[in-house]
């Protein structure tokens, strides 16, 4: 098998509560890819990430490269604010706390002593960055990022993607990113899967995102425009 292979998915089907959530999905991820999984709410995007992590039963094939380390950034953690927990506490829950917490927090842009802060006191954008840092503990080669659909401060979303792009560069990361936001694809990704239970398009972002495929994906609600940067 070629050395830059990270993940191969073939004929993936996921059924939850007798409902088909993902149907016949096949794709491949190579090292250094930034794959965006794009689709409307309820399209099965988050389920796909969880399935790839092995948290949900499935039919079909999921094959990860051998000995690969995966970091996971969940969509949201609604219960974490129920208890007094500092950022450092949260990192101490992690299995493999190899490199120091502070160093990882620094790399997502927080200064010294930030780890003593209570998670309940963070803004949603700060919390998002803490989650990313948490996902980076143990130096994973792959980061699965589930985008929060609501509750991130205005303006913070932009910087999250800048941050992910920076981390990808610095740490030689392969990123699988779930979003409902079309603009993220153009800013960030090399490959895209359009998912609405069934795969609607798959390939290099600039090629496969046509007005037709987007209309099919979102049922014609979204107007197509392409950023020229």
């Amino acid at each position: 098998m070629e050395s830059d292979f990270i993940l191969k998915v073939k004929n993936l089907n996921v059924i939850l509560d007798h409902q088909s959530i993902i149907e016949n999905l096949s794709f491949e991820v190579k090292r250094g890819d930034a794959l965006t999984i794009l689709g409307p709410n309820g399209a099965g995007k988050s389920v796909l990430l969880k399935t790839l992590l092995g948290l949900i039963p499935y039919r079909g094939e999921i094959e990860w490269a051998k000995a690969i380390k995966i970091g996971y950034v969940p969509q949201r953690l609604p219960f974490i604010k129920d208890i007094p927990i500092s950022i450092r506490d949260f990192f101490n829950l992690k299995r493999s706390l190899g490199k120091g917490t502070e160093a990882i927090l620094n790399s997502v842009g927080f200064k010294e002593d930030f780890s003593r802060k209570k998670i309940g006191d963070l803004s949603s954008g700060q919390f998002q960055r803490v989650l990313i840092a948490w996902g980076l503990v143990g130096n994973p080669q792959v980061l699965l990022f589930d985008e929060p659909t609501t509750g991130v401060d205005i303006g913070a979303e932009e910087t999250i993607y800048n941050l992910l792009a920076k981390l990808k560069e610095e740490r030689d990361l392969t990123i699988l990113l779930v979003t409902h936001d079309l603009s993220v694809v153009y800013k960030f990704s090399t490959e895209v899967i359009c998912l609405n239970r069934q795969p609607i398009c798959y390939g290099p972002s600039q090629e496969v995102l046509t007005p037709e495929s987007i209309q099919k994906l979102y049922g014609g609600e979204v107007r197509y425009y392409q950023h020229k940067h």
């Binding site: 953690l77 129920d82 208890i83 007094p84 927990i85 829950l93 992690k94 299995r95």
Partner: protein, 254 residues
């Protein structure tokens, strides 16, 4: 100072402290409500213990296990609201206690009585609570992670079933021990109130978990001292001491 009083104090401190410690985990899962029906369910068991003269904690224990199975069925299987279970179990438990027991003993079942605790009972309580303390300390961070998100815990390869089992087992033991102290009616408060106070006062997990334990110890000691001074039943006094600390913690909320 007489021996009986010391024995009560030892039981109060050990059970109150560990109940507070465990309570800090229970609050995190919004499960404080669960401790309520668990306590109330023990009433028939306490009644049996009092009628036939064996340790009420021993009588309570099988009923707590039954309660945990019931909760599991209610929550996981039928998704009925927990309030329904609370109401049913609460009413039936109180009814059974009054039906089976003379009023004086019914009081002991409902609000507890540690003023007559024997040396053997005290020794068993201390040993069990010590074991519980270490067990809870060992599972603490895993349960916190499970409380925050089961998926995150799974992605960290935490064996959720295993830790939940130890966790529920710990709840069962602390409720069984707690009924002796504060009775079937008030056990939930023994678990929930110190943790609520600690939550108001702390900024991290260490402060929170050990704070809940210390507040549990202080409440129990204060309650038992007040019993000595006033002659009112110790169980309700322990809970009221705990409530007083909670009210003070509201002022200093962080």
């Amino acid at each position: 100072m007489d021996t009986q009083f010391l024995l009560s104090l030892v039981v109060g401190i050990s059970v109150g402290g560990v109940a507070g410690f465990l309570g800090s985990l229970i609050l995190g899962r919004r499960m404080a409500l669960v401790a309520g029906p668990l306590g109330h369910l023990t009433l028939p068991g306490i009644a049996l213990g009092l009628m036939y003269g064996f340790d009420v904690s021993l009588g309570a224990f099988p009923f707590v296990i039954l309660g945990i199975v019931l909760i599991w069925l209610f929550e996981m299987r039928t998704k009925l609201p927990m309030e329904a279970l609370t109401a049913i179990v609460f009413a039936s438990g109180v009814a059974i206690a009054f039906l089976l027991l003379p009023v004086k003993q019914a009081e002991a079942a409902l609000v507890g009585d540690i003023t007559q605790v024997s040396f053997g009972e005290a020794a068993v309580s201390v040993i069990l609570t010590l074991l519980l303390f270490f067990a809870i300390k060992k599972i603490y961070s895993k349960i916190v992670l499970i409380n925050i998100s089961e998926e995150l815990a799974q992605s960290e390869e935490v064996n959720i079933r295993k830790y939940n089992l130890i966790y529920l087992g710990s709840i069962a033991i602390i409720v069984a021990l707690g009924v002796k102290m504060v009775g079937g009616l008030l056990t939930a408060a023994l678990v929930a109130i110190p943790a609520s106070s600690a939550r108001n006062l702390s900024r991290n997990l260490t402060q929170y978990s050990f704070g809940a334990m210390i507040i549990g110890i202080i409440s129990s000691s204060m309650g038992i001292l007040l019993y000595k001074l006033t002659g009112f039943p110790a169980g309700p006094l322990i809970i009221l001491a705990s409530t007083a600390i909670f009210l003070i913690s509201m002022i200093f909320k962080r």
